[in-house]
């Protein structure tokens, strides 16, 4: 296997990702025209509709040009980091997003660590103790996680650990690194539970399959300890399907973050998106949607690349990806 194989693979993936980004950007652009009524009105919002402002909007969004030209000019502006002006408060969309990014990143990273750490551990333990009460409890927890959306779990956590027991704060994002972690613990758990279920399910299924293989029997015959076999041999192989599911995990975290931020009233990008949607602030919706979807596409691209690195069979083309 040469490194050129990897390069070709990555180029092939890029050939899929780039058109995808174009289609997404086109959809986001079309939102202006998808909104009921005149696009100028949609972009005007609650501002006074004097002729000068209306003309400014027409020029700013090139509304007098043909549709495709509008898209081209808009895309060029976006690529130059210009996402326009939010219709409420007249602030630059990019500035508003920058202000809100910190909370969302902190929350997502915290949840991702919980999802991958705890999810893989629970899945592995359940597979190792297959058929026992512990296994059934973990499987049941998984069903619960898939069925309970983050905003519902969030309300229960908020009530029991925030309002009743006072273990965690119930409002605000906190200041400084540690205090923020303290404030974001409940939101991160609420977000992690729903996404973790996928990881538990896949890890458990993959582990059960791997545990039945010959090399496990052989390792047992050599007298290796059960925990060593599980964690040093089986888990490593079982993690490959988990990496494939990482895309689902990312989509789950992004979508879940929107709901969790609203539930816990956190000033992040998710809550910003919902607020913008409720107020029909099209430029702001375009900005956050573009950010979220590009993030998902790029992460999926990164996952594909990681996948080829950890599983040589993909590089050799023996497994149909």
């Amino acid at each position: 296997m040469t490194s050129s194989g990897v390069v070709i693979f990555i180029l092939r993936r890029l050939a899929v990702a780039i058109p995808l980004l174009f289609i997404i950007s086109f959809g986001v652009f079309a939102l202006v025209h998808l909104a009921p009524g005149d696009p100028v009105r949609a972009l005007l919002g609650a501002r006074p509709s004097d002729p000068a402002t209306l003309a400014a909007i027409r020029t700013r969004y090139h509304l007098d040009d043909p549709f495709i030209v509008q898209y081209g000019k808009w895309l060029w502006q976006v690529l130059n980091g210009d996402l326009g002006v939010s219709i409420q408060g007249n602030r630059l969309v990019t500035t508003t997003i920058k202000d809100r990014l910190g909370v969302t990143i902190y929350l997502s990273v915290m949840s991702a660590v919980l999802v991958l750490g705890l999810g893989v551990l629970l899945g592995a333990v359940a597979a190792f103790r297959r058929g026992t009460r512990l296994d059934r409890a973990v499987v049941m927890f998984g069903v619960f996680g898939i069925s309970s959306p983050a905003f519902v779990t969030g309300i229960f956590l908020l009530y029991f650990f925030g309002a009743l027991l006072h273990w965690f704060p119930i409002f605000g994002p906190g200041r400084g690194f540690l205090d923020r972690g303290w404030h974001l613990t409940l939101p991160a758990i609420a977000l992690a539970v729903s996404v973790m279920a996928i990881v538990i399910k896949i890890t458990r299924a993959a582990m059960i399959e791997e545990l039945d293989r010959d090399y496990v029997t052989f390792a047992r015959a050599r007298g290796l300890s059960a925990w060593r076999i599980t964690f040093a041999y089986v888990l490593r192989n079982a993690l490959i399907p988990v990496v494939t599911a990482a895309g689902l995990v990312v989509v789950g975290l992004v979508a879940g973050a929107i709901y969790v931020e609203v539930t816990f009233a956190l000033p992040g990008i998710g809550a910003l998106t919902v607020d913008a949607v409720q107020k029909r602030d099209i430029p702001l919706i375009q900005g956050t949607t573009l950010l979220f979807s590009c993030f998902v596409v790029l992460i999926n691209l990164a996952i594909d690349v990681i996948y080829t690195v950890i599983d040589p069979r993909i590089r050799f083309g023996r497994v149909d990806s």
Binding site: V16, L20, I23, I24, L31, L34, A35, P36, G131, R136, V143, F144, I146, S147, S148, P149, F151, V152, I155, F156, L158, Y159, A163, G247, V251, V254, A255, I258, Y259, V262, T263, T273, V274, V277, Q278, R280, I282, I285, T289, F292, S293, V296, V297, N300
Partner: protein, 280 residues
């Protein structure tokens, strides 16, 4: 879930063979269905009468789950809420699988260009953050509940198509297909009369799982204020409207929240069980 030894006949069709959790889940669903159909007759009070003078009160003998900010009876609103909790998800699950079954059968059996085209579309849909698309489209286009149902049908069709297609691909190399082809049976007849009945159990199991997923998604949109009309008794909408009375009447939030989880868990359990039992 007991492990049956090889060769041991699996008991089929006896009630005692159904695990206890599945019976419990079926009872939960039955209760929700009864509430959805006979809501007005079961609810202890009107779901709409406002008593602004009393406002949000904690549970009492008069109002078993208390009242919301407008003084409406929470328990009655939860009973009425069963309707939007069932109708939308049924339409989503049935609609998505009707389209997905057709696309999956075509894609899996015909292969070639049709297959590639359908699969590229599925890949594209998979790359999108579905729930975000739903929020933005429903929010910008407007139209509330039924727009949400329509968007979810489109979003759910892609993963469902992949499921049907892979089930069809498992049937293709089996001898009965070759036999049917040798007999000169038309493609359409093979697809709809020979393959479809064999993949139907898998489809039905996933329809049930889709229902649970649609319920959670629709409740989520209503929770963001984007689903049902304001004032409609709906579990998700109740979480949105009552979010500020967690301290004065926690039941107004915890009861609808519990109903969402209970219904979704029950449907997921039934779906998983159907899948293990009939589709493997």
């Amino acid at each position: 879930m007991s492990v049956t030894a090889a060769g041991e006949p699996r008991p089929v069709g006896r009630l005692s063979a159904i695990p206890f959790v599945i019976i419990a889940a079926a009872i939960v669903i039955a209760v929700v269905v009864v509430c959805a159909i006979f809501g007005a007759g079961i609810a202890p009070d009107s779901a709409f009468v406002q008593r602004l003078a009393i406002g949000d009160l904690p549970p009492s003998a008069d109002h078993l789950a208390g009242t919301d900010l407008l003084g409406r009876d929470v328990l009655s609103r939860v009973v009425y809420g069963a309707r939007t909790a069932l109708v939308g998800p049924i339409v989503v699950a049935a609609g998505a699988f009707a389209i997905a079954t057709l696309l999956g059968l075509l894609s899996g059996y015909l292969g070639g260009l049709v297959d590639s085209a359908i699969m590229r579309w599925v890949d594209f849909m998979f790359a999108l953050p579905g729930p975000l698309v739903a929020i933005v489209v429903v929010g910008v286009v407007g139209g509330g509940y039924w727009t949400a149902v329509f968007v979810l049908v489109v979003l759910f069709t892609a993963p469902d198509t992949r499921i049907v297609r892979s089930a069809v691909l498992k049937q293709r190399p089996l001898p009965y297909i070759d036999a049917a082809r040798v007999l000169g049976i038309s493609k359409a007849r093979i697809v709809f009369f020979h393959i479809l009945p064999n993949v139907l159990p898998i489809i039905l199991a996933y329809v049930v799982l889709d229902f649970a997923f649609a319920l959670v998604n629709l409740a989520g949109l209503s929770f963001l204020g984007l689903g049902v009309e304001p004032g409609t008794p709906d579990w998700g909408r109740m979480l949105f409207e009552n979010r500020n009375i967690l301290f004065s009447n926690p039941a107004a939030l915890l009861l609808p929240a519990a109903m969402i989880i209970l219904t979704a868990v029950s449907m997921n359990l039934i779906g998983d069980w159907l899948f293990e039992r009939f589709a493997k």
